[in-house]
């Protein structure tokens, strides 16, 4: 396979950054010696497992642990009453469903009511997995089933069973910009579509796991697979102990994608350790993970787009209904992302958006790569294609005509402050792909589709985001970096080493990064929201810049060399005709009371919180733009889709490590292709029927082609060296690109995900029928 391609519009002299270096975590991972959360054991540890609700909506009428507790090896069986503070809070400022902020909560262990299939009700702790298995079956819990509601629209209808006492409306956001009715009245053409996206699972290869113990100071220590070590605060609140008495360590995580953003095993491990005072391990099964951990929000998207005859969009109406499942989690914020990104990477001056998310008795939904900004791509890009077809303009041209540019304003009111290379990403994928291939045999049809997207990087600006990193020289000239970033597989820690190496000249192999420890590494915030390169990257950059200034200043003072002529090279401070060994330079610093370690703290861009009726001059720090192209072949008799070619181009600002960037893009694309064609968490009136990976089909190696990448570098991002975030953006376009290609192949457009062979055949049959939209 040919390597990806890089197109830079701003050259910069870089030594280490921008090089496709092997990541420093690769060696151990490939040797098989990396110790993930489930790989560490103590000889005297106990094991813990949850007993979960078998029904989606019920009153708990009886809980009896006696028989289970009598199983040999069982140490304790815990119910909600055994949890010091049996509540997990979700606080979403800006929501008006209740007075002031939304203060939603859920129980750690349900006491009198269960609201989804798989909700935790009891925690069993035992000295062996075998005893656990036996005891969990014997915990006697009686349920009286209650009516449930399993569709968000039905949940909002009058008389629907109330999932929570305050009603089923969890959150809503509105945008009213310009004069929509006037724009529609004056438009040459209006296209309309309704689209549905499904619940999907993160399906990382590493199911949720962790080991907890009390350390030698009595600090409750949890080594868990997580994207957020800051959950130590939530754990402390549940146990009613000071934050400083809880430590969360994130070892290398076997995939996150948002699924390890909320707590998973943490509160249960904490509770088990706290009660037994012994080390405890908890390993969720794949079945548990599929059953009960929050999913991606299923959404219904309704779009009406008004345009002039030349394809210029003049107005858009968007209506979004999202399924929040049984508990709030991050649903209101996911819906906010959907709302802000709803019109895509296009200039739309007149917008009316109504979005709401509702409680149901389905599994909860929460963060998943793209975080609401990705479902809407399926809507807005389908609209662009319909518009192009109606006006007989090319798919590329209609997008370029409406592409956002620096200075344009998003419907929410935020101006785009950095250069947008959207048109260049469109050209890049089209150039790369060349001509559309021919069908391989009769009764096959080939189609090509493109889809573009916009995806924010960095957290919502009113969350006062910050990240800290400590960088210190050892006296031998090697370097230690301490940063609280959890590394979930994207090379988060390795990128920090690469940035430090660039600034300080220290070779990568002489840099050690300690990461993901809420007590021993400076807190760097969550590995979510495509924020870590922006946040911890800038924090390391800042610390390194301070160190460089310190050592060069000390050497200048000590030797009389002009400071501005001094350079940091690997192992030495140099100038024209001058060289001082780095070790001597460091001793010089010590002699002159110049620190050789530094704490850098980076603060994200700030802004005011939004309210339900959205109008804000800043919601996100910045955005990443991209375009994908998909060629596929449809079997007109079976509906089977074969992907022939896939090209993805994103402006990443600056690729800190091009191999990591390509990895993020091709991995994101394939995860997106799974959502487009294969994946769905299947629910039957709230009963989760998806019991294993034999039912939940994520793409295998034979399901996808090589993903070709084109990296564009505007140098315009807010991260170090002008980098933009690239973790989430590539998962946005695939569903729309595939739908577009199928439309091209068979003449009718799939509007419901996943696009199964049955749905493809329905499109084949629909083409040319009454009501058919060409």
């Amino acid at each position: 396979m040919s390597a990806g391609e890089i197109r830079s519009s701003k050259a910069e002299e870089l030594r280490v950054v921008h090089q496709p270096l092997p990541r420093h975590d690769q060696q151990e991972k490939i040797a098989g010696s990396t110790r993930y959360a489930g790989d560490l054991a103590f000889a005297d540890m106990l094991h813990a497992r949850l007993v979960r609700a078998p029904v989606p909506s019920a009153k708990i009428t009886r809980r009896d642990a006696a028989t289970a507790a009598a199983v040999p090896g069982v140490v304790c069986v815990l119910f909600g009453e055994d949890v010091p503070h049996n509540v997990i809070w979700v606080d979403v400022p800006g929501q008006t469903v209740e007075v002031a902020a939304l203060k939603a909560s859920m129980e750690v262990l349900a006491t009198d009511r269960v609201r989804f299939h798989g909700e935790p009700v009891a925690l069993v702790v035992a000295d062996s997995e075998e005893a656990l298995g036996e005891a969990c079956d014997l915990v006697d819990i009686e349920y009286e089933e209650l009516p449930g509601v399993f569709d968000p629209a039905e949940a909002l209808a009058p008389g629907a069973p109330a999932v929570h006492a305050q009603g089923n409306l969890l959150g809503e956001w509105n945008i009213d910009r310009g004069g929509v009715d006037e724009a529609f009245a004056a438009a040459d053409v209006i296209v309309e579509g309704s689209y549905r996206t499904q619940a999907v699972d993160h399906a990382y290869l590493e199911p949720e796991a962790g080991l907890g113990w009390l350390d030698d100071e009595g600090v409750l220590t949890l080594r868990v697979a997580t994207q957020v070590v800051e959950h130590y605060r939530d754990v402390a609140r549940i146990l009613g102990i000071p934050d400083s008495r809880v430590r969360v360590i994130a070892p290398y995580v076997g995939g996150g994608f948002g699924g390890k953003e909320d707590m998973t095993v943490e509160p249960y491990l904490a509770l088990a350790v706290w009660r037994t005072r012994r080390p405890v391990r908890m390993q969720w099964t794949r079945q548990e993970s599929l059953l009960a951990r929050p999913k991606r929000h299923a959404m219904t998207l309704r779009y009406k787009t008004a345009a002039r005859g030349d394809g210029t969009i003049v107005g858009q109406e968007v209506d979004i209904t999202a399924d929040s499942g049984a508990y709030a989690y991050l649903s209101a914020l996911v819906l906010l992302y959907s709302s802000v990104h709803a019109c895509g990477p296009y200039r739309v001056d007149n917008v009316r958006l109504r979005a709401r998310c509702a409680y149901t008795n389905n599994p909860p939904t929460s963060a998943f790569r793209g975080f609401g900004g990705m479902q809407v791509v399926f809507g807005y890009e389908s609209q662009m294609d319909l518009l192009a077809r109606r006006l007989q303009i090319s798919a590329a041209d209609v997008r370029k005509r409406n592409a956002l540019a620096r200075g344009d304003v998003l419907p929410v009111g935020q101006p785009i402050e950095t250069e947008v290379l959207l048109a260049q990403t469109i050209d890049a994928v089209c150039d790369r792909a060349g001509d559309k291939p021919h069908p391989s045999r009769p009764r096959r049809a080939v189609g090509r589709g493109i889809a573009s997207n916009i995806q924010s990087y960095g957290r919502l600006v009113w969350l006062n985001d910050s990240a800290a990193a400590w960088v210190g020289w050892q006296l031998d000239g090697s370097l230690t970096v301490r940063c609280g970033v959890p590394d979930i597989g994207g090379g988060q820690a390795s990128s920090l080493a690469q940035i430090a190496s660039e600034v300080l000249g220290t070779p990568m192999e002489r840099i050690t990064v300690h990461f993901g420890d809420s007590s021993l590494t400076p807190l760097a915030g969550t590995t979510t929201a495509t924020r870590q390169l922006l946040m911890s990257g800038n924090a390391v950059y800042e610390a390194c810049t301070m160190l460089r200034a310190g050592v060069l200043g000390a050497v200048a003072e000590a030797t009389g060399q002009p400071a501005d002529g001094l350079r940091l090279e690997p192992g030495a401070v140099t100038a024209e005709g001058f060289e001082m060994d780095l070790r001597e330079a460091l001793v010089t610093c010590r002699r002159r009371n110049v620190p050789i370690e530094a704490l850098g703290t980076f603060f994200g861009p700030k802004g005011k919180p939004v309210v339900r009726d959205l109008r804000a001059d800043r919601v996100f720090p910045d955005f990443t733009f991209g375009t994908h192209l998909c060629d596929l072949e449809v079997d007109l008799d079976t509906g089977k889709v074969r992907l022939l070619r896939y090209v993805a181009a994103h402006d990443v600002g600056r690729a800190i490590n091009p191999r990591s960037v390509e990895g993020q893009i091709s991995g994101g694309v394939v995860q997106g292709l799974g959502m487009a064609l294969l994946e769905e968490v299947t629910l039957d009136n709230g009963v989760n029927l998806t019991g294993g990976l034999f039912q939940y089909l994520i793409p295998a190696s034979t399901d996808v082609p090589d993903i070709e990448t084109v990296i564009l570098e505007s140098g315009e991002g807010l991260g170090p060296f002008g980098a933009r975030g690239i973790g989430e953006p590539p998962i946005g376009p695939p569903s729309a690109a595939v739908a577009s290609a199928i439309h091209d192949a068979v003449g009718s457009r799939p509007v419901v995900l996943p696009i199964t062979p049955e749905r493809v055949l329905a499109c084949v049959d629909a083409a040319g029928q009454p009501g058919w939209i060409p």
Partner: protein
């Protein structure tokens, strides 16, 4: 209680004799009894491939085989692909230079599926490599870099 058995397996060249309940899977035996944690638990039903090991040279999902069933066998895990000095073996080096691991959780199993394919000596096309790896799921890379690595290792081995 399950019947107490003793199982002896040669794990990466090292004979290990440990008790094993009749119900104990090869995966749990390796991880809990033989301290070989490189095969991973990913699904427990033979779908994801994260627990793939070689049993007498054949790739097997260790989560759906009982330790007692393979008593006496030679087991190779990812650690068994290392050189004697502990450095990465040829297939592992190809994974390293091609950026074939991201989160790395599928990697030990993926390596064993690839090693089994390469050991046949049949020169495989990219499509055949993809077919040989189709029982090993990866959620991070999109598979391209893994196929690149196996292809490179194959070419390296042929020289």
């Amino acid at each position: 209680m399950s019947q107490a058995l003793t199982v002896t397996l040669v794990v990466n060249g090292r004979p290990v004799t440990r008790a094993a309940g009749a119900h104990l899977t090869l995966l749990r035996w390796l991880r809990e009894e033989a301290a070989a944690t490189d095969p991973k638990y990913g699904c427990g039903e033979g779908i994801c491939g994260a627990c793939t090991v070689l049993v007498d040279g054949e790739p097997v999902s260790a989560c759906i085989v009982l330790a007692a069933q393979v008593d006496g066998a030679e087991i190779t895990t990812a650690a068994g692909l290392l050189e004697r000095d502990g450095s990465l073996g040829p297939l592992q080096r190809a994974f390293h230079t091609r950026h074939a691991a991201q989160c790395g959780f599928c990697t030990p199993g993926m390596l064993m599926a690839a090693a089994a394919m390469l050991s046949t000596g049949h020169p495989a096309s990219r499509e055949e490599i993809r077919a040989a790896l189709h029982g090993n799921l990866c959620r991070c890379t999109g598979y391209g870099p893994i196929v690149d690595a196996v292809e490179a290792a194959q070419q390296e081995g042929r020289r």
